[in-house]
Symmetry: D2
Subunit: 324 residues, 4 copies
């Protein structure tokens, strides 16, 4: 029989992502509506270990849905990988009467949630990352905002790139995944899109592409390069040397992590947060919430971590044809 | 055996929606990559009847993906419902060598596509409407941009509403469907969300809600009202009279139809446009492209028009709980 | 000899405007840096009469510069026109140890500040209104944000207006002044700009202009109408009837008052707020701060209220020529 | 007696800036309204030397006011410094019947205009640069858009900086001038603002400031660094080493040069463009248009180039006090 849940905690872990506040807000309000108390844990697992724990009422999440970042703060916590630390964290939860914990973060954070579940604290994971690199879900909190932020910046770079007939390499985030690069590549009409999953490191192809496009009268050349490939600045130098065309690199950087969330990020993060609150209040544990095939669903954490996903082949093929 | 497709046409029909240009661009470039010629038809079915038909090359859609509206123009064409007009349109297609036609628009536009298919012109429909009110698809071109435009406007209204401790009724588009209202309602943290699918016209409930919230210290009250309910201005007058609280209505109007498309609208419209080009080049006809359960798919137009969809019940329930 | 200032108050009055928080923040921090205490008065003169007065420290204005609205709230207070109320307000100031008061608002608010000065409370006015209708200054807090908000909305309406070859009338705020209409008219490349200061109510001219433009191949016609003229909806009906061209009105409304302030509004409001803090700490009273001829300056309130300003004639002439 | 002007040319030179298209549009339409023909010269002085010259009608600048970049293109042209090249350019102007030339660019471009004026081609300069580093004017085309682009990006970085309690160094453009850095520093509430005109290269002060702020409970520390100082990445490394606080650098880069212009940039660039058209049609030459003390004015180019301007001292002092 599922244990009775009287109080839950919520924390954000790993890199922050726009929409995390919408998720926190939904967890808090839905859990309270379900008759369960909520505590906020600051700065992720690190704050849990330091017992940075606060009570949260419905009004504490007012006027937060539109804000970037995470009101709870976040931090990396490499020491959370040890059994000893996990046990200590479970004890702290028990000490504070926390029966269950909603963890908003990425794959690494789910490992911690899994460990806590083993030690008797019910846990539910929510996919919070701008990188979309969580296999069990087609949606992650923050991706939609990040791609719009990057796209709008690239639109601007394209203006000046055209005016100067320049080649521009724009490096977008995504860690080892190419989703942000693929979406921006298509949305910005980029001439080349370099994805960690696909790139063959044949720079001569890019150079030939630039030279051919210039011959055909194109006045700019936009290359979207993924963080997982990196080295945009040296790439720009090599391309300029090989083509004789002025080439500049821009690394968009941390702005992609912030900003007021888009409507999709606010909406999906709200529904997902409510869903997480509902299943944790029902006594479920060791699960991660995802969005798959048009439905909000949940998976065993181990199963979720074993899943694989990759760039959809048709989308990748289309991205190459549209830019020609 | 499928007839050979040498030339296709593309048109936009009904209300315009951001992302239509991305779809046109993808149809043009993918069809040409498939070895097929493309003609653009201006101003929807009306332009077809007037033979406003132009050749389209790859470069003709350069620098259009980021633009709102439709470069082909659009128009209503009520006379297209008659058999006689449909026959004439099919003859015009044949005269111009148009073997197939991609129609970007809503349900009404698919009826025309169906008729043309009956008269020997292969047709493929693409869902273009900000209203999301096409049953066979979870995504329609323009919805994502429209909800972000509306949400950002409502964020601003909320600022001034709070400063003045005012009640604000904001009317969003959506025709008879409440999707825009639901998404903005959740994303803007609205206190009340009025959907055509759900609203019981019990204004006293809203009034009580406002009075109770004010007693509990809330400094503003945002009501998102859907176009399908309408009458926001008179509603504001009645609510102000009943509550004594200053109440103002804003009808967001046509700005929701325009603007540079979001990343999702540019990306999905591009993939869908390419998909439409591929299946029309393969000889398919009388189909409409949709996005369902995480996949781009296509349906027989008659089947698509017979489908139903409605506001997801869980999302609606969550929307009511989060705003409390 | 100027009286010694130990404590000042700050309030926002009249309609709210983006940038008011930047001004409050600057008043608070600069005054404290000058060794003076600061109290915040909520909801304008109304809150003063209700003694809604709070202490403000430097940290109380953290993370406010980027927010729309006013953190102090605002309200109309028609009863503040009576001598009796003004005396009471002065007594409340004295009771709370408030030696001076910074009033952020429009012309009406300065009358109140003048009265308080007469009753021994030092007062400094800051020009806070989106309407730019304060004669003694070329800059008012909020105007720059409002024109950008309106302009971006009109850009979107223009997209859909072009797609449908429609005539669009867009009504912008500004009370009896046409500044917002003039700036948006030029910035949006409007075909007609109707200003209260200039409009001759000859609708036939507009109608002729539309018909002539259509003949010359223009696919849309944008009319920016100022709030001071109003009646956009009935105007649209008459124009559609006279021209046979689909004509739609949009009243942008309250969104123009909100939103995160532009860089100029944050910067100028900050400098002006600091300036106000400095002169009130020096013992000046009955002054209003303005920006004139490239300098931040201050005037006697009576002198300021006696000044006149109007639409610059050259700018108006240019606006008519550029749209042809 | 002034020579009669029948045809003028217009070009953009040096780095592009948002609003240049508004200026081009105004030059074209106002000159034509004055009865003068207009030719567009592509890619600055380089395009002039290559005779890349096109006729421009009123409709050629339709739908350009809202676009970033420059529709005429721009380029550097170091060879234009030689007398021989200048003479050749003047001859090309005469060959194409160009009696006068409006040059939109920065100080360097005015030298070229001065030379052409010496060789009998009337010239008028317009201040087009995002850097605001032209001494004779308080406004330059593009600055307002650039500061808003930078500010919005910094707002986003601040979100994630707070979530992670990180120190962020953000490098903004401006060449050797600190105006963009100063405005963003104030508008984003930065803790430190490093201006080329003021910075003493005492990094220890910054480090102490960070440590003190952290002790006082501040959760982030934003440093705006101007391009003229640069070296943000190595600065971040040194600060992280000295403080033990995670420190990251972002170089905003070329996005600051692009994007749809703000209302102010569209409006002022339009008025200035019209003004330039008027005075060149009147026969004036060797002048540069500026905005000073609230008026649009023009100066002899030599006088303009001899002027000096610097960061206003009061604004700088305020910037340091508000961030404490």
């Amino acid at each position: 029989m599922a244990k009775e849940i009287k109080t839950i905690g919520v924390l954000t872990s790993g890199g922050d992502a726009p929409g995390m506040n919408a998720a926190i807000r939904a967890v808090v309000r839905k859990a309270i509506a379900n008759g369960v108390k909520v505590k906020g844990i600051k700065k992720g697992y690190k704050g849990l270990l330091n017992e940075e724990i606060i009570d949260m009422e419905k009004k504490d999440v007012s006027d937060t849905i539109e804000r970037g970042g995470t009101i709870l703060g976040t931090a990396r916590c490499p020491e959370f990988k040890t059994e000893e630390t996990q046990l200590k964290a479970a004890e702290i939860c028990q000490k504070h009467g926390i029966d269950g914990l909603v963890v908003i973060g990425g794959d690494g954070s789910y490992r911690g949630a899994q460990a806590l579940a083993r030690h008797g604290i019910n846990t539910i994971g929510l996919p919070g990352t701008i990188d979309l690199d969580i296999a069990c879900t087609e949606y992650t909190i923050g991706f939609d905002t990040a791609i719009n932020t990057a796209m709008q910046a690239i639109d601007k770079i394209r203006d000046t790139s055209s005016s100067h007939e320049r080649c521009s390499i724009i490096e977008v985030m995504g860690r080892n995944a190419g989703y942000i690069a693929l979406w921006c590549g298509v949305a910005n009409g980029a001439e080349d899109i370099l994805l960690p999953e696909k790139y063959d490191f044949n720079e001569q192809n890019i150079i030939n592409n630039i030279i051919n496009n210039r011959k055909r009268g194109k006045t700019h050349h936009i290359i979207i390069n993924a963080e997982g490939i990196g080295h945009s600045t040296s790439m720009a130098r090599r391309i300029e040397a090989a083509t004789g065309i002025e080439t500049r690199a821009t690394i968009l950087g941390y702005m992609q992590r912030g900003g007021s969330p888009t409507c999709k990020d606010r909406f999906y993060a709200s529904i997902m947060g409510a869903y997480a609150a509902d299943i944790i209040c029902e006594g479920k544990s060791n699960r991660v919430v995802g969005y798959q095939h048009g439905e909000f669903v949940d998976f065993d954490i181990e199963d979720a971590l074993a899943m694989q996903k990759t760039i959809p082949e048709y989308q990748y093929q289309v991205s190459r044809i549209l830019s020609l």
